[in-house]
């Protein structure tokens, strides 16, 4: 459609008004088609700008221009991938649309360079701001929280792993943003009961609260329980909370829909019973790794949640067949069950479970070593809607079991067979599932090209393929994949040592490829990498560790074509200073590099390459020896730009 418009743009603009253009644009869904649309002419670009509501910025250079163009209509802005974003850049970009901003949501996750000045500018420029994500900005502390608290209309705030945040910062937010509905303060380890108490008193509208891994006690729960609208409470790994704390939640508010108390060591059945008694509409219950054994009383209490409970996660429990039978009887509406690493899960137990819970769509049986094909037969028999099945390390399962799954569960989208004893026949059975999006075959060393041909035969929707250590896979298998599964985004070929440049040349037709792992594929050379760089230009992650034959030529190609590359592991490659400098200097999105044991790069090479990176790096892995060889000024500068350097001390081991 847009191709036709492209050819005669002048006449089209004359006949189609902007609102009609917008009507047409609304029917163009694919991002790549939209890109073509923007490139037609100014009129089309304007129409797109008027229609655009969300924007994800990948390059800092483009930030200001983009924001100027979209200032008027934009509601959601994602800056999490934008490298080298600092206060100055953010404030300048926001100044471009001063007075016009209708931004409601801003994502600054991992934007480690942004400090309180930038946030203050943001809060001032965007009066309608409702959601901010600052998660994993480890530098964010009280000052930043205080700056953000100026945005009084904030409803949603994510501050996970803002390590500098204390009770004071939380109090600033609680007082400044009383309308807060969703708040995540996971891993903000400085926050204590006092802060939570004030939060609960000031922000009575909280619906979603994540207080995982905080060092809070039962006292906090006492105040949290006063939040009458709370629906979703996550408190993973709060080891100071016990049953007495959970009892506070049983106060008749009956509002909770989702509770996650996994890894709370001191929580037992009786505490959970009080939660169930207090909240009859609980939909989601995650109690993984709390206590070893399920008490009968708890299991019978699940009957209270018969109609509502849809997700139950019991990771790490001892779950015997009778327990699963009771769950099957009591939780008929269960959609998802997690039995990862549960001991004593047997075929009998799974059969009893699925006999009751026929609506199950997601079943996690990771590391349930006792399961055999009988369990899969039962699942295939009862759960016709199954979409996700995790079977990692279920070593007793064979191809025959997958036959049942492949025949009965035609909606299957995701299956994890890592470390199972599967052969090519199993792939043949799975190829019946045309909806398959995620297939994990790591460590299945009997899978060969034949199996991949089966997958490719009906794998148009496949997005993720994991072939970690599938030694039998060769270039021919990749050729089949490249022709059959065009939509692949993540491809893991680590230690598939038979693969050569030819295989990579086949893969280069995968335009959607974002993440390619080639660790230890030691036959590949720069030729193969050049082919990949040329074909897969959207690549954002690339792992070339232990690819000893890859040299500067490969890096030059990457630097030239894969402009979106964000994460690269070049450890043990035969690259020199030239290639490294070129790569770090030319890739404007590169934020995370691992440069361990680059034997051909001298200290000066590292020095100049890191300087060339120009403050874009957020994570860097280097040998400890370099710590004292690199100039202190450089290290300080990197850290000032928000880069975290991980110093590793590993012996040079050329054979993986």
């Amino acid at each position: 459609m847009e191709r036709a418009q492209q050819q005669s743009s002048d006449s089209i603009l004359a006949t189609l008004s902007v609102d009609l253009l917008i009507q047409i644009l609304d029917r163009v869904a694919d991002p790549r088609d939209r890109k073509s649309w923007r490139q037609v002419c100014r009129g089309f670009l304007l129409a797109e700008a008027l229609r655009r509501r969300s924007l994800r910025v990948l390059r800092r250079e483009a930030l200001q221009g983009l924001l100027r163009r979209y200032a008027a209509c934009l509601e959601r802005l994602d800056l999490s991938a934008c490298p080298a974003l600092d206060d100055h850049a953010l404030a300048a970009a926001l100044a471009a649309g001063a007075g016009l901003w209708r931004l409601r949501s801003v994502n600054l996750s991992r934007a480690s360079g942004v400090g309180w000045r930038g946030l203050a500018a943001l809060a001032k420029a965007c009066p309608h701001l409702e959601a901010v994500d600052l998660s994993h900005c480890v530098g964010v502390g009280d000052r930043e929280a205080a700056a953000l608290a100026a945005a009084a209309g904030l409803r949603e705030l994510w501050l996970d792993k803002c390590l500098g945040l204390t009770d004071v910062g939380l109090a600033k937010v609680a007082v400044g943003c009383p309308a807060l509905e969703m708040l995540g303060i996971k891993w903000c380890l400085e926050i204590s009961d006092i802060g939570i108490e004030l939060l609960a008193k000031k922000c009575q509208n909280l619906r979603v609260l994540d207080i995982s891994y905080l060092k809070i006690t039962n006292r906090s729960l006492q105040f949290v329980s006063s939040l009458g609208k709370l629906e979703d409470l996550s408190m993973v790994g709060c080891s100071h909370i016990d049953d007495a704390g959970l009892q506070f939640l049983n106060n008749g508010s009956n509002s909770l829909q989702s509770v996650d108390v996994s890894r709370c060591e001191n929580v037992t059945s009786s505490g959970l019973i009080s939660v169930i008694e207090g909240h009859k509409y609980l939909q989601n219950l995650n109690i993984g790794d709390c206590f070893p054994e399920l008490a009968p009383l708890f299991l019978s209490k699940l009957n209270d949640l018969r109609d509502s409970l849809t997700v139950l996660k019991l990771d790490g429990f001892q779950v015997f067949a009778p327990s699963l039978k009771i769950i099957g009887l009591n939780c008929r509406n269960l959609v998802e069950i997690g039995l990862s690493k549960c001991k004593w899960v047997t075929d009998e137990g799974v059969s009893e479970l699925v006999a009751g819970c026929v609506n199950l769509m997601t079943i996690d049986l990771t590391c349930c070593h006792l399961l055999t094909n009988k369990a899969l037969a039962a699942i295939g028999d009862k759960c016709k809607n199954l979409t996700c099945l995790q079977l990692e390390s279920c070593k007793l399962i064979t191809d025959k079991g997958l036959d049942c799954i492949g025949t009965c569960c035609l909606n299957l989208e995701e299956i994890d067979l890592t470390d199972c004893t599967m052969t090519n026949a199993a792939m043949k059975y799975l190829s019946r599932c045309s909806e398959l999006k995620v297939l994990k075959l790591g460590l299945c060393d009997k899978i060969s090209d034949e199996g991949l041909v089966h997958i490719a035969s009906n794998g148009k929707k496949l997005r993720v393929l994991d072939l970690y250590r599938c030694f039998e896979v060769t270039d021919d298998g990749l050729a089949a994949i490249a022709t059959g599964c065009k939509r692949i985004k993540n491809l893991n070929l680590c230690y598939c040592t038979r693969i050569t440049d030819l295989g990579l040349k086949h893969l280069s037709c995968l335009e959607d490829l974002l993440d390619l792992e080639l660790r230890g594929v030691h036959y590949i050379t720069s030729l193969g990498i050049t082919a990949i760089a040329n074909g897969c230009q959207h690549l954002t992650e690339l792992d070339l560790k232990h690819c000893h034959l890859v040299d500067d030529a490969g890096l030059f190609a990457l630097g030239q074509y894969t402009k979106n590359l964000r994460q690269a592991n070049l450890s043990y490659c035969q690259v020199s200073s030239m290639g490294l400098c070129n790569l770090l200097g030319s890739l404007k999105c590169l934020q995370d590099v691992k440069l361990v044991h680059l034997t051909r790069v001298p200290v000066e090479g590292f020095e100049s390459a890191l300087r060339a990176s120009g403050g874009r790096l957020k994570k860097l892995k280097l040998l400890t020896g370099l710590r004292h060889l690199l100039s202190p000024g450089l290290i300080q500068m990197l850290q000032a730009w928000g880069c975290r350097i991980r110093w590793v001390d590993k012996p040079l081991n050329l054979v993986p």
Binding site: R117, A120, V168, K172, V175, E197, L198, K202
Partner: protein, 466 residues
């Protein structure tokens, strides 16, 4: 008080009139209160008088004047005889009039006790005149039972008896041994009580410590004693019987006594005087503050008595005296009790928890409690952010004020006179007024793109003048 009675010390006649009055007052409670009210000032003035004499003796014969000593001993002798009379009369009365009220009898006993205490004091001060090093053993009239107790218990029982026997064996003549012991014991009892609160003193517990609010003793079930202002403010309560040096604590005195000879070094002399079980119940003593109108004063309609002498002292100093101790760190907090100052100095300067309103707290939970209570208050991140009123409350130096004012002049580039400034104060929300100013050059380094007037630094600069 009839002044004519004083010099001749006609305790007997005054007693009899007293008891007649008492007969009319049948009710126990009323009796107790009235009796103590009347008797206390009475014998304190008596003592003042006698002390006056002994003081004179002291002044005249600082270098040991035997005549003066003899005089005072004579007076003592007279007093003892008078008490003997009273005792005899009361025993006679007991035999003749069987109808005598038990409370009346108790009152007589109390009077005798008080008189005996006076005598003990006299004795000690007389003994003091014998020593050249005497300082202020009897300064400003030691006539409170508390202080007598201090003296009595300061020398251990045996020592005191020895001393008294040296000074004419008056005790054996005047009072029965048992009575005397009881007196000493009673006094040393409350003395122990008085020492204890020092260690447990706490700012928060001040009110409880001062009074017996939680005790709710019925009004008549205890004796009410009232000390005079001078007695309350006397610096020491324990005096060395040998050199007269004063001490605040009995334990310190006992340590001091070791320097006067080996006999004071024995474990028994150094040990804390122990309470002895007695058959007779000791009357509960409570104290009244001499300040009229004070809730702790017995005239007050909601009278709340004070438990110990120490409570009296602390209460009187805290409530009715100037606060003469100033904290040397903050130069603003003042206290009348030294211990309070010391408690404050421990935390002074550590009030690091600030509210945006300027109030400071020593504890985070207190600050957060405050914030939870008031709308719009937030914790301040640093001193920068504290608003002007906070600064003045804190008593921060004027220097800071002056400095920032200078800064303003510099920044705005032209001189703004005071009236202009006061005009600005009203428009504190209009931060835009200052937005054109460039802080970049000296504050924010390279952030020239940011014209953020609401940066904390600038805000704090102007907030001084709000």
């Amino acid at each position: 008080m009839d002044p004519k009675q004083m010099p001749t010390f006609e305790a007997g006649s005054s007693m009899s009139s007293q008891s007649r009055n008492l007969n009319q007052n049948q009710r126990v409670t009323e009796f107790d209160v009235r009796e103590t009210e009347q008797s206390l000032p009475r014998f304190s003035s008596r003592l003042d008088n006698s002390f006056h004499q002994s003081n004179q003796a002291q002044q005249v014969a600082m270098n040991w004047d035997p005549r003066a000593v003899l005089d005072s001993l004579d007076i003592l002798g007279q007093k003892i005889h008078q008490i003997q009379d009273i005792v005899r009369r009361s025993t006679l009365g007991n035999e003749r009039q069987l109808s005598i009220q038990p409370n009346e009898f108790a009152a007589q006993q109390q009077l005798i006790n008080a008189d005996l205490t006076c005598i003990v004091i006299e004795l000690i001060s007389t003994a003091g005149t014998l020593l050249p090093l005497i300082k202020n053993a009897s300064a400003s009239g030691i006539n409170s039972p508390g202080q007598i107790g201090g003296i009595a218990s300061s020398a251990s029982d045996l020592d005191l008896v020895d001393m008294l026997q040296q000074n004419d064996n008056v005790v054996s003549e005047g009072a029965k041994d048992s009575e005397y012991e009881e007196l000493i014991k009673g006094l040393s009892d409350w003395d122990d009580e008085g020492i204890k609160p020092i260690s447990t003193e706490d700012d928060d517990a001040k009110d409880n410590e001062d009074g017996v609010s939680g005790e709710n003793l019925p009004l008549g079930s205890y004796e009410v004693l009232q000390l005079e202002k001078e007695e309350i403010l006397a610096p020491h309560t324990h005096f060395c019987a040998i050199c007269g040096k004063g001490f605040k604590r009995d334990a310190n005195l006992r340590m001091h006594m070791r320097g006067h000879g080996d006999e004071y070094k024995s474990p028994s002399a150094l040990a804390k005087p122990s309470k002895e079980a007695s058959s007779e119940p000791i009357p509960i003593k409570r104290y009244s503050c001499p300040f009229i109108g004070c809730k702790r004063n017995k005239e007050h309609k909601n009278f709340q008595p004070l438990k110990t002498i120490l409570c009296v002292k602390n209460h009187y100093k805290r409530s009715h005296c100037d606060k003469s101790y100033t904290c040397r760190r903050c130069n603003s907090k003042k206290f009348s009790v030294m211990a309070d100052l010391k408690t404050h100095e421990k935390h002074c300067g550590s009030n690091k928890w600030l509210c945006s309103c300027g109030t400071t707290f020593s504890r985070k939970d207190k600050l957060f409690g405050h914030i939870a209570l008031f709308q719009g208050h937030t914790p301040a991140l640093s001193m920068d952010e504290v608003k002007s009123q906070g600064m003045s409350v804190q008593g921060q130096s004027d220097e800071a004020m002056a400095k920032t004012e200078d800064m303003d002049y510099l920044i705005s580039g032209n001189v703004i006179d005071d009236t202009n400034f006061s005009g600005l104060k009203g428009a504190d929300d209009d931060l835009g007024y200052f937005s054109s100013m460039n802080f970049d050059s000296f504050t924010f380094g390279g952030i020239d793109g940011l014209q953020q007037p609401s940066f904390d630094t600038s805000e704090s600069l102007f907030s001084f003048h709000k």
